[in-house]
Structures are given as structure tokens and as C-alpha cells.
Symmetry: C2
Subunit: 890 residues, 2 copies
Amino acid sequence: MTEWLKTFGGGAAEGSASMLDLLGGKGANLAEMANLGLPVPPGFTVTTELCAAYYDDDKRFPDSLGGEIEAGMQHIEAAAGAGFGDAANPLLVSVRSGSRASMPGMMDTVLNLGLNDETAAGLAAGTGDARFAYDSYRRFIQMYGDIVLGVGYHEFEDLLERAKQELGVQLDTDMSADDWLSLIEQYKAMVVARLDAPFPQDVGEQLWGAMRAVFDSWMNRRAVTYRRLYDIPESWGTAVNIQAMVFGNMGDDCATGVAFTRNPASGDKRIYGEYLINAQGEDVVAGIRTPQPLTADGDAAAEGTGAPALEQAMPEIYAELGRVSSRLESHYRDMQDIEFTVQKGKLWMLQTRAGKRTAAAALKIAVDMVAEGVLDEETAIGRIEPETLEQLLHPRLDPDAPRNVIARGLPASPGAAAGKLVFSSERAADLAARGEAVILARPETSPEDIHGMHAARAIVTSRGGMTSHAAVVARGMGRPCITGATELRIDPAGGTISAAGVTLGEGELVTVDGTRGELLAGEIATIEPVMSGAFATFMGWADGIRGLAVRANAETPADAATARKFGAEGIGLCRTEHMFFDSTRIVTMREMILARDSDGRRAALAKLLPMQRQDFVELFRIMAGLPVTIRLLDPPLHEFLPHGEAEMREVAEATGLGVEEVGARVAQLHENNPMLGHRGCRLGISYPEIYEMQLSAIFEAAIDVGESDGSAANAALEIMIPLVMGAPELRILKDLVDGVAADINRARGAVPAYMVGTMIELPRAALRAGDIAELAEFFSFGTNDLTQTALGISRDDSASFMDSYVRHGVFAQDPFASLDREGVGELIETACRRGRAARPALKLGICGEHGGDPASIHFFQRCGLDYVSCSPYRVPIARLAAAQAELKRR
Amino acid sequence: MTEWLKTFGGGAAEGSASMLDLLGGKGANLAEMANLGLPVPPGFTVTTELCAAYYDDDKRFPDSLGGEIEAGMQHIEAAAGAGFGDAANPLLVSVRSGSRASMPGMMDTVLNLGLNDETAAGLAAGTGDARFAYDSYRRFIQMYGDIVLGVGYHEFEDLLERAKQELGVQLDTDMSADDWLSLIEQYKAMVVARLDAPFPQDVGEQLWGAMRAVFDSWMNRRAVTYRRLYDIPESWGTAVNIQAMVFGNMGDDCATGVAFTRNPASGDKRIYGEYLINAQGEDVVAGIRTPQPLTADGDAAAEGTGAPALEQAMPEIYAELGRVSSRLESHYRDMQDIEFTVQKGKLWMLQTRAGKRTAAAALKIAVDMVAEGVLDEETAIGRIEPETLEQLLHPRLDPDAPRNVIARGLPASPGAAAGKLVFSSERAADLAARGEAVILARPETSPEDIHGMHAARAIVTSRGGMTSHAAVVARGMGRPCITGATELRIDPAGGTISAAGVTLGEGELVTVDGTRGELLAGEIATIEPVMSGAFATFMGWADGIRGLAVRANAETPADAATARKFGAEGIGLCRTEHMFFDSTRIVTMREMILARDSDGRRAALAKLLPMQRQDFVELFRIMAGLPVTIRLLDPPLHEFLPHGEAEMREVAEATGLGVEEVGARVAQLHENNPMLGHRGCRLGISYPEIYEMQLSAIFEAAIDVGESDGSAANAALEIMIPLVMGAPELRILKDLVDGVAADINRARGAVPAYMVGTMIELPRAALRAGDIAELAEFFSFGTNDLTQTALGISRDDSASFMDSYVRHGVFAQDPFASLDREGVGELIETACRRGRAARPALKLGICGEHGGDPASIHFFQRCGLDYVSCSPYRVPIARLAAAQAELKRR
């Protein structure tokens, strides 16, 4: 019947929760509550369609609106039993925005609308509370003057302050009715002076002014920025809710409060919240008075002030609130965050929405609700944002502790830790060996720092992005880490960090909040994670649903064990180079690299072989029965060489070469762009003896484990060739793998089953996937390098501009954190399609950092990948994201 | 009638030159000559189809072949008037390979077949020359023994050597008939000892053995490798030519020789060649006797030995050879390289093929033949390999000078120059200012070395590939350059280069052969290029045919002038950064980079603006009326900063900053992979004031030139944004360009017409070309960076493995020299398709190094590009390649 608005209240509503797009969140839920028969002050919602029409027609309202608004106001008057502009029994309304997506505080609100000189007097008479009535009126003039008339809020506040000074009072509550009346006259005079027109006394004019102001606020700068940040289309528009005012501040039989239907921190099934007697909604939030708990016991009461709980002060209201709470929860099938007001002993519901909660609470509520029969498992799975699981796996800072932030950077690896500052990996290892908690600060890290990072509780770097060396390694180890703290000057030589005027030296205490990317001065208490039974139950459901397998990127026994603990179904990326940085091995590795010829290299490799074999023996034991994908040596050889003069001398002594020769070889191996240099399979082709040693170690370890366990070796040994550009390189190196296998077979009389596959991490490889799949039995997308090359961005150097790129909207998100679907994504889709066309049984996986990113996992599921592989600490997140992706597909 | 062979000789032939695929090159041309009625010894060609059948059937000949060979031999006997195996009048034949593509020396040949104890005696009696007959017989045993029977050639040679020692003679010609007869007995005995079977006396058995050996040689290792290198399909197979032997060594009325129908060095229209009286073909080549010229005057005679020319010694034969030569040339419509033998006063033609020639000769012959009406212009255009024009544009080394090669590297920029070694750009500039010729040797070069490279006659680097900084800049300047001379140790601090046991210091003379990539000790004379009138005529034809426009990459007035001289139709890439390295500007540039904030940067930029404007004024004057594409600043800022401590101190003084602050800023700007770092449009977004200054300079310069010339400014000013990943960056920077244009318009009352476009140099940009083209008016493919990113190869670091990659067949060619069509090519095709779909009028060009590579130009033509842009010295090559590409398309 009506075109532009929907009424609610008085036990019924024209709208419902399903009309979210049309009515916005607030309006839809008010209608839904009214339909449920809950006590909602009557009102109506002007739809988002009107917002669109308003902007389309150059900010003019359609002609038909006038009549509809009039009818809407009559609906309110009838339900509320009061008259809009009626001095005898005045109806006051609120005018609030309400868009489809929550945009907290971004748009405008006008309260107490309908007050003028006459109705204010009438309100005073009707309520017998002149102080309340004139306070409300002056609040309305102030709010309306600011929002609708454009008179600055501070100008009103200045007058109020002056009045208080003159009267010698401190608090608003010290002002009498007459004081307010006199201030009201000053307010009105000031409006006339500013606008050359009186403050509108016509309540109809007030209503239209407020409605227009709320619609206009859809395009204010705050809202526009917020929408761009959260990717909310401008076309959605906002609705406007016009609703009868109820008052919690009309006496001691009045109150106002907020409640969660369950505890939002623990998830316990018990109403939880705060209220204030004789107060307005903003008083609960403003913190001038300390709110009282709802329940007589429980957490909120524990913090209590001694003031009575709602349960005690208003037992009937409390009981009704409990019934409303149950009704809303079973109706919405989710924990609700509600606002209520008690006006003269009557409970009114002002808002309901899904309540925010901690990850632990979210898990408990989801599992409880399935047990209660409220939810099915699939719906429960969809309720948890995978990223939030992160909170459950890492220590976090006490949220109440004071935070003295020295510098901000990228939240590269979550969790928190405190300790003494150190500036070198050697020092970190030394102090840690003596039992000290240390925090390693470096301009950036390199593979040489692995032992220092392992020894440290947390890592901070001034350079690098979310997938810089420091970030990747720290996440893999579960160490909190901040990278790209560009404002932090880290001087390892001088042994200081400085930022924001503070300079700290070695041994001083700092705290790293890796979850927020903040470095804090001093030691701040951390809270250790606890994994609940709900976690296991919940993850079990996720595993039952998901199609994608989840593996971990791991190479050390410790990482592999963590990965299994978190539910990894194999290793998707074992980086063999990390095994060479151990201090006992690096010398031999350097000997190999500095050798003058292939014979010299072979001699050094022969010494490395038993060590590398032992690495694999341990790894295969831990991952028994699960697939292990081993990437042959990938980084350029110069990464293993020393750079400082002192270290070069050390190497010269160890290898028996002259310092000059070591220096010359280091210089010769130097590369301008090592990322695009002599690495990956290019090493395998130039120095086949390196790959031969690695392959021997792998095959021999698999045989040894098989023999000692009396069982078959690993179910699937997957040999992975890095950085191929096309089929020819793979042909050469597959021949090499098969050759070593044949040698082992001759020597040991057996060889374990193995597959040969490749990383797809260069754009050309993605395009040539058809040829490559003729030879490769599996592809593993190396999305870090694929992103670096497709976008031409070095992840180690991106910190200097990535922020401004995200801010300028060039990327919605850092493409190293969440896959760039438009560019890198197309390459992956192309490679999947061409690869499977050439070899339908081709196994497809991904082992870049994106393997642990939920949005990226959805994309990988759509591409038809078989598995994702991520750092051990991301495995639970990937398991849940994969389940959600499967549900979405269905 | 016959299935497997085609006969020729006796004034007719079953085959023809058009049957190249079936008969191979040699067989087809023998048939063609026979058809022309030229004196060709009779024979027949066993076809390449038989080769395929032979290999298909497990190296068995088809049953039907026997009868056909018999018939073929009868044809030869009839035409030659001799009998195969007839002791009274023996027919001898040659058995030679001959495939579709020339594979010189890769397969086997057997001569003098048909000799046995009886026919040798018969030949001796019939010719009255026993020495000749038995020498022929022993040669046959030796050749057949080696090739067909597998007895090592050296075993025969050992016997011959021993015999000579015993007889006390030095030369083969000192051996008498009896000596040969006795050696033949030893040969036969040795064969029996090795094979346990006698040397075959049955001439039929000899024939089948030789035929099988020649077919087998198609698969020998040499041939297989050669085919892989030159991309010749194995399936083509070889033909076998069986032909009556003729002898140039039967007395003084016999001779043998080779001739070019025109002078292959100058192109002069006059027969040119060498011959020997009473000799065999190999004697001419072997160099034991000095050959005599064909003509009594001319170049060959000038080198003469005093021995009579063919013209004098055998005037009738000379006249007949002249007629044959004219006939062949007008028939083949090309200069021919022919082999002939005179046997007892009769001329026989043994081979004809297109003759190899110098670039100068090729041009003159092509232009002359068009004038003679033999060729049309289009055919003439197709005859010249574009790369050969390079010879005409650069100095080259005297080919006869001795070459003492110190080191080899990549032939990065052609030409040759000699001078004194220097190890720094400063030193190069100093010495050059004093008039010294210097050769700059550096481990690698960077933009700071521009002035030194300009001052040097040639450049050598130990690192970098074909498109490293040194290579690109040297080609642009026309300086000879060797890069990636990995074995050369260049020590700039010590001031030495060393390689191959040689160490040279500053001031020592070296010669750079950039065409061959060789560094030579000492000063070697060079030959300056001369451009003939034929060059201009020929290039005019090419310009008339081609569809692709050709522009040059140039930024200095000198380069721009060179580009116009070589026929460039505009500038396709003006790199603005090169303009900042001038010693007077670099200080201000550094001041700008080191500034603490945007205001500081603006102050420094204001000083750079007039300088940059003047650069453009000069450039626009030179390129008047032609389009100029200007790329805004591209390299990362740290490229402009000093690295040594002394230089940092200098900068600290000039800028008034502390040394420590300069050092800190340098460290802060350091990048691990600058190629993938904060550069290109990323700078324009971070520091818009830099691009604003450049744009002001460009627009103001265009207005100034237009005003001072009283004419319109450049026909097309093309502003090019580098390194975009997608549309968002271009949107930001296009707004910036338009904003500056609007400012200029306000200030000057006018603004020149301009276009805004982008480089497409990242894989993602190629994929997002549709979006980008919504904003860009042109694309210029930056194939250097596109190759680097698509393949994940840094061109500066590729030298260490690119060689082995080409050798292993991973690439047919260095992908920085010739476009990788399979990978980078697909990205370019995709970008062209998507770009033109979004904007049909989109202008497409390419400004990477591949713009001057003929094979790549053919690809660009197929992609529908509008122009290619290359370094000035490659412009003529690109013009010709573009004409050929257009002819191919037609």
C-alpha cells in the first residue's frame, strides 16, 4: 500500500528481518521484534529505496512522500497514545539512520524531536518533571542545531559552560529547570544570530529537516571513507527510522541498559550486561556513572560497585528481559546484543543484533547451540570467522594493561611476548641459552638468522612486508613478529632502537604485540591460550565437511609435530635449505659453495649427506603415513655465504682458502635481484651434484624409516622442483631424480614410491602448465613468488609503498596477505585448466602464504585444488576456511 | 614410375629444384641444372621418403628398392658410357648425403666407389695413369673402411705414414703407382685382421654398404646435435645422391674450382673464384697448393701467385663457365656459389647454391638485380637478413689481423674499438677529455656511469646479460660492448683485469670486438663503415612495404639525431631519468631525494624544472613533427644516491645534512630486489611532486618550442606511465597529468595536445589490459621487464646460468635477445586482444630491446602492433625486418 515506508509497533509490523536490504539492519530488526510481539516503541522506517530516489532526483523527495509520512506519524500517535506537536500530550520521536551494513557512528541521529516551547511546557506538566522536560528540550536544540542547522556543537557547549560557571555548578545534574529554561533562551538567541532565522517551532518542519539531514549524512566524509574501507557500495543507501521516544530517565521506576543473551567473553549461557536506573542510553556508555550488573552473581557482579543488580532492583523487569532474551535467541538462532529502556516500570526493546564475542565464546556458543538443537553443524561452522581462531592459538596481552606504544608495524605473526632487546642472532642464542627471554630486533632477517629467531620470544624488523623472510619464518615457528616498522630506526651496530623520541638499548624490556603490530615499552603480562573441548568438537565438524585437504609448511621436527597437533594432513612444503643453516652445517655448506669445481663440491656434499638424511628420517617418522612434499634446494647460494669481513676470515680459515679468494667468490656470487637470480631449479641444472645429494638423502631416509619401522615408508613421497619456467627444465631434472632413484635401487635393492612435481611460481610456468603437466605428477602453487613476479613487487621491499597502495585503493588488501584474484588468480586458474587438460589426475596444491588465508582458500576451492599448505599455526584456520568454502560451493 | 629415386643427367632430369623436400638441396639443384641442359655428371637421387621408410621399418630397405637402384645405375652407365664393375671401362660413383636444410659436414660421403682390384687395374689401363688409378683406389679403401666398415681412419693413416717413412718420402705426390699398390695390399690385410672378412670386391655390395652408411649418418651424434641447435626436424630425413665421378686430376687438361657468379665481398657483377689445374676438389680447400684466380684482373688476381688465371689457361672453359654462370643466375635469380670440374677438357658442374656474401655485397646485388630486371623489389627485400645490416653501421676489426683473445663474453653491442683500459667512469671522462681513446672496464654499470660510458670508446663488464644496463645503454649510444665476461676478473679498486693468466692495468691497450663478444690484447686496426647509395635505395623500398612504424629509444640530443639519421619515425621511449645523472644535476636530484618532506622535495624539484624543460626543448626541436613518448621517472630513487663513504660525505656537504643522516637515508632506501621495488608509477603515487615537475617541464617545453618555431608543437606528445599493475594506478596518475595540464593551461593560456598511456611490463598488467585500456590511449610493451617478471629472471644476474640454459636447450635463444613467444608472447597477445576489445583505437607499440630483433618483429606484426621502438643503431634493422614481416603476412 505504502511505497516509501513500513510501520512497526503495537504488536505488528509491515516489515521483517528478511527485508534487510530495504529497511537496513536497525529497521529490519525493529520490525522483526514487533512481529514477535515484543514491546517495541512504535515507529516506521523510510526505506533505502527512498534514499536512492532522493539522490537520483538531485536531493529532492518524491511528492508522494508527504502523505505517507503523515500516515506514518498517525500510526505512531495511535500506538503511543500521544500527539505530535500536541502541547497537552506531546509525542517525541527519534530519527536514526540504519543501513544494510553496520556503519557505527558514521551517520547522524536526532533525538527528542517534537519538542518546542509549547510541547516542552506540556511535557513538563504531563510528567510533573520540569527539569527532565527542559533538559530534553535543550538537548534537542543542541543536537538539531548541530546536525540539521549546521550551528557548531561547541557553540552550544560554550554557552552551557559559561552558564555553569556563572551558576557555580559542576555537573549537568546540578542544573535546575529554570537554569535550563534560561539556557534555552540563550540557545535560541544564538541560533537567530547565526542563521538570521529562529529555531523551528513547527514540529513538521523539524521532522523533515531531521530526515533530510540523516539521508544527507550518507554522503558525509566519514561515511564515504568508511564505505571505501569496508567495500560497501554507495548504491545501497541508508534507511531512516522514525520512532516514538521512550525515557529511562523519568524517575527511579525507569532504567536503561544493554544485554548480551550469553556471556560474550566465555560463551556461558547466561544473560550478561549492564544497566543504570534513571538514566539515558548514552549514560551507560559515557562512563560518568558506573553501570550496574544485570545478574546478582556472575562476572558482571564480580566487578560490581555494590549497587543492586537488575535481578534484585527490578525482578519483574529482569524476568521479562529473560523471556525476551530467550525468545530473540531462539528466533534468530544466535546470541543477541540488545538495548532496552524501562519507562515507568514498562520494558521497551530498542535494538537487537547479533552480538560480538571472543573466539572462545564464539566456539562455545556454536557448540552449545548445536547441542541445544538450535543450530545444525553446518550453520555453526558458517558462524565463526576463521581468522578469529588465531586468538585461541597464541598468547595475548592482558587487554587491561596500559600500553606504551613505541612503534607500529605490520602484524606479521600473531601473539604476544615480552623480553630483553637484542640486536643479533648470536646474542639472542647466547642469552636464550642462559634462560633469558629475548626479543630480536633487526632491520631485516635472512636465513642466517634462523637460530636467533628460534631462540627469541618475538621478532621486530623495520623493513619487509607481511611475507618477508622474518614474517614467514616467524609464523612458521609461531613467534610473534612485527615487520615493516618503518618509523623504527634499528641500529644493530650501535645496539639501539629509536622511535618517537625514545631510544632503547640491549637488555631493556619490551613487549611485542604481533596480533596488532605494536612494539610496547616495558614488560606487559600475557595471557596463555587454552584450547577447550569445544575447539576439538568444532574442528571435527569442519573436517567432516571440507573437501580441500590441509597440509603444513614445515621442515624441523618441532614444526612438524606442531603441524600434526593442529591437524595437518601431511607436509606440503619442506624447505630443505633451512636444514643447512645449523651452525655445524653451514661451514660444510660454505665449503661446498666455495669449491673450485664439481669434485670439490662433491666432497663437501658427501659430508652433508648423512646430516640431511638424518633430517629426513626424523621428519618421516613424525609424519608417518602422511604425504611429504620436499622442495629441492631453492635459494641462491650467496645466501649461505658470509658478508662481514670478520666472518669471511672465519670461513677462509675453515675452508683453507685465502680471505681474498673467499671475498672474490662472494663478490662473484652477488646478485642485484636475488629473487630473480641463480636459484631454484637453475641451481639444480648448473650444479646437479647438489640435487643428487639431496635426492640420495631423501630416498635413503625413506628406506631406513621403512626398514626400522617394519612398515612401508611414507604413503606419498613428493619430490618438488622449484622455479621452473617450462617443461624443458623439468625434463632435465626429472631424469636426474629417476637416475638417482635407479642408483639407490641398485645399491639398496629397493626404492620408495615417489612422485615428481613442480612449483608453479612464475607467470610463464602458469602459462606453460600444459607442457609441464606432461611431465609433472603434481603442481604446487608458490603464490608468494607468483605474486612477486606477476605484480613485479618484491615482498621484502614492498613496505615502503604497500600501505599507500592499499590506502589509495590500488589493492583492497596487501596481495601478499590475501591472493590477488584478478591477476595472480587468473594465472592459477589458467594453470589448473591447462594442467588438468594435459593430465586429468594432476594433483594440485598451494604452499604459499595464501594457503592459510580464508578468502584465498575460497578461491582455491573454486579452482579445484586438492589441498592447501600453510604454516603450522594457520592449519586450524585453513581447516575451518576450507569447510566454509565447501559449504559455499554446495 | 619409380617410387624411391629420381634420375638426372644427359640433358634431362626426373626431378627439379621445386622438389627440395623430396630430393634435398644438392639433389634438387643437380636435377635443376640437368634440366637446364648444363653439363652435370649423370646420377640419381634416392629420396628423403626412403630415409623415412628405412627408419620406420627398423632400418630395413623396401623390397622394391633393389630393382630401382639397378635401373638407376643403368641410367648412369648409359649416360656416362662406362660400366659399373666393368674392368675394361669402369664406372666410378660418389655417394653423398643431401638434406632439405644445409648441414655442412654433419653426414657422410663416399667417393670413388666401384673400384676393386680389377677395376683399378682397368682404370690404370684406360687412363694410362696407374698412379692416379691406385691413388684413387687406396683413397676409396680408406674412406669406405672408415665410414662403412668402421675401421678407424687413423689406422689407415698410420700405415701410410709408415710407408712414407720407409720410402723416405714426404708428400703423397711423391708416391709412385707401385708404392700405392703395395700400400693397398697392407690396407686390405689390415681390414681382414680387424673384421675377419676381406675388403668387399663386389661393387654392388659396395654401393649398398655406402648407401646404408649415408642414411645411418642422419642419426649420428653430430647430426642430431646440429639439428637440435638449428631446430631441424628429425622427420625430414636425408636424401642420397649417387653420381658418376669426374676427375680434375687426370692431367693438365683437367682442373677443379669454385666460383661465385658475383663478387661476394663487394657485390660487383663479375665472376669471382679460384681453381687448380690437375687437382681434386679437396685440394682447393685444403690449402696445400695456392689456388689460382679465375679472372686475369680483379681482386682474386691481385692476391695472385703469378700462376695463370683460368681466363688465360683455359679460355674456352672460362667462356663456357661464364655462360653457365649467367644461365644459373638468371634462372635462380640470385648470386650462385658453384663447384666445377674440368676432366680432359670438358666442363662438369657439380653443385650450385645461393652464395654467401657480405652485407654490403648483399645490398649491392639486390639493388643491381632489381635494376637488371631480374628481381622485383619485394623479392629483393626478402633476400637480406636484417641482422647483417649491423655490419654496415659499426666499425669492425680487420679480419686478417691476429687476435689475442683475453676473455669472451656476450656480444652485447656490436662494433669494435681499441683504447686504453680505465676502471672508473670519472677516469674515463678525464682521459677522454684529454683526447685519449679509452675502454671502460667495470664489474657492471649503473646509471651513474652514463657519462663514463659516453666518454669511452667501448665497454666491458664481467656481469650482466644481453639487456643489462651496460648492454642497453651501450647499444643506445652505439658503443661496442661486451657483458657477462664471467671469467674476467675486474678489480676496479686494484685497477686490474685478469683472465687466462693475463693481468692488465690502467692505460694498457685493449681492443673490444662487440660483434663477437671478445676482448683482445693490444690495439687492433678497425675498418670504418661506409654507407653506400644502395643502402638508401634498398631501405626506401623497405619503408614502402612495411606496415609497422619504427621509432627509436632515445633521450639525448645526440641519440635523437642518430635516430633520425637512421630513419626513426619518432621516439618510442624517452627515459627521463638519464637526464638527471649529469654532474650538475645529480646534486640537486640527491637533495630532492634526501629531503625530509614534500616541501623539501618541491624546493629541489623547482631547481630541476628549468633544466629538464631545456632537455625537452632540444628533443622536441630535433624530433619536430614526429611523435615523442616520454616515460616519467622509473628507477628507484636509491639509484641516484652515492654508496661509497667519500661520496656520501660529499653529498652531506652539498645538502647540508649530516653524514650520518645521509647514510641512514641511503640505508633506508636500500632494496633487496630493486627491480621489483619502489619504482615506476609507485614513485609517482608516493611522491606526486616529482611527476608534477616532469609534466610541467614537458608541457612548458612543448609550448616554448611551438611559440619559437611559430608552428604547432609535436604532432603527438605521449605521456607514458611506467610499471602499472592495473587500472587503479593509472587512474590516479592520469588525474595527475590532467591536473598539471589544466594548471599549465591556466598559467600559459594553452596546453599542447597529449595522450596518456602506459607501459605494459608486468604480467598482471598484461592480464588486466582490458581495464587499463579504458583509461590508457596507448600501450607500450616493455618487453625487458615483462621478460624479467614473466620468467623470473633478472637480466643483470642471468649471465651465470643463461649460457647453460641455452646449451641445455631450455631456451633456443636468450629470451632477452629474442622474445620468448611461448610465455611473454602469450601475455602480449592477451594484452593486445583485451586492450583493443576495450578500446578499438588503442595505439600499440613496443619499446623493449626486442623492438630491434627481427624474429620478435615478425611476432609483433602478427600481434597487430602499430610500431616498434629500438635503440637508434637498430632502426635500419627494424625497418627491414618490419618490411619482411609485412611481406610474410601478405
